[in-house]
Symmetry: C2
Subunit: 205 residues, 2 copies
DNA sequence: TTCTCTATCTGAACATTGCATAGATAAGAG
DNA sequence: CTCTTATCTATGCAATGTTCAGATAGAGAA
């Protein structure tokens, strides 16, 4: 993260190196601490180099956002399925909020419409993929057909279910728990002790 | 918004002029289009002038955020109360999301923890005040005592109710409806035609 | 009025940022 | 070995937030 680290003139795989460097910076300093020049320096490269691989800062961050959505998808897909719809939906919601709480900078990034290009087909595709499992859990709970986000299938119940988790995630990364809880690590406290009962209240058996 | 507009050397009330100028800029160009220099120029004043009235850009935006929260409070308080808890809660939620959709830039501002100072006591107070009516509606629907946000009274049901609207608001200003709807003005379509059924699904009678 | 004090504002710095461009470098094909 | 092309450097430019010495004028005291 500090010094340059390179022997050859050509980097080899600067593209992914820049994405990883950006991820590290955002993890440490948040989105607001990210600059293109920092990423270039972290990859051991001159300030102008990134332009040859990405369409400006927005292009780099969009590529990173795609990686983050894939990460989110993997985490949600890895969650256990109990067969009990209410519990599965709660599990997905809890996983979603947990992901946001554990990766606040990166979660903020994928919500920053001004920083990434949400017209990018790959980004749209990946963001839909990331929520497929969640959407299916919601459909199962509410007794609907399995939705296909790509075909813009839209159901009120589903929107409600997604919005609740999305709102909770935002509340967490916006620091609302710190305004309501007096514990040392409000976000963790909120997720571990209060969020389950919130979700239980939201989607009871 | 364009040129300087001043005859006297001293402005008279630069502080509020800067806040109003900032509001105008953000309404037009969004938070990402805001710069301190633009605000100064819009108020017809030199780039260094704002520093004499606010603690940097963050101070100015924090002051504006307080104004926005008061605006939100007024709108939510102005909504009719039917006496039917479910309907009142839906009314509040709809009002909340509508405010976000009508003032996307300003709503984004009050969620940008990196831009405003959420340790400012006035901001905290005002943000709590803005949601009092909403919280009471949620309490009535779920059969709880009237909550006092200032005393950090926290109930799972309430958090769920707030999160849903907050999440929907974020989804709207993040442009998710545009990904799901094919109408000319997706945000309006979403709010006017789909949101009511979403809320009906969320909090039925 | 006149003088003084103080709040207010100016104007010119400075460091940092994203970005564009011209040129250097080296990897790979023939 | 030579040429082509992708890759990277170096430099410069405009814009931004912030600071600071100095200019300005309003307000109160004499």
């Amino acid at each position: 993260m500090t010094g340059p680290e390179r022997d050859k003139y050509h980097h080899g795989d600067l593209k992914t190196a820049l994405i990883e460097a950006s991820e590290g910076i955002i993890r440490e300093d948040g989105v607001e601490g990210f600059t293109l020049r920092k990423a270039a320096k972290a990859a051991g490269v001159s300030p102008g180099a990134p332009s040859h691989h990405f369409n400006g800062t927005r292009g780099l961050l969009t590529a990173l956002a795609i990686k983050v959505f894939k990460h989110l998808e993997a985490e949600l897909n890895a969650l256990p399925s109990s067969g009990i719809p209410a519990q599965d939906l709660r599990t997905q919601a809890l996983g979603y909020v947990t992901f946001a709480a554990r990766n606040p900078g990166l979660f903020r990034l994928i919500c920053r419409v001004d920083l990434i290009d949400f017209k990018d087909p790959d980004l749209i595709e990946t963001s839909f993929d990331a929520l497929t499992r969640y959407a299916h859990a919601a459909a199962a709970y509410f007794g609907h057909d399995a939705p296909d986000l790509h075909k813009r299938v839209f159901r009120p119940h589903m929107a409600s279910a997604m919005a609740t988790a999305h709102g909770l995630a935002h509340m967490v990364i916006e620091g609302r728990p710190a305004l309501l809880l007096d514990t040392p690590d409000p976000a963790s406290t909120f997720i571990e002790t209060m969020l389950p009962s919130v979700l239980l209240a939201t989607w009871p058996d």
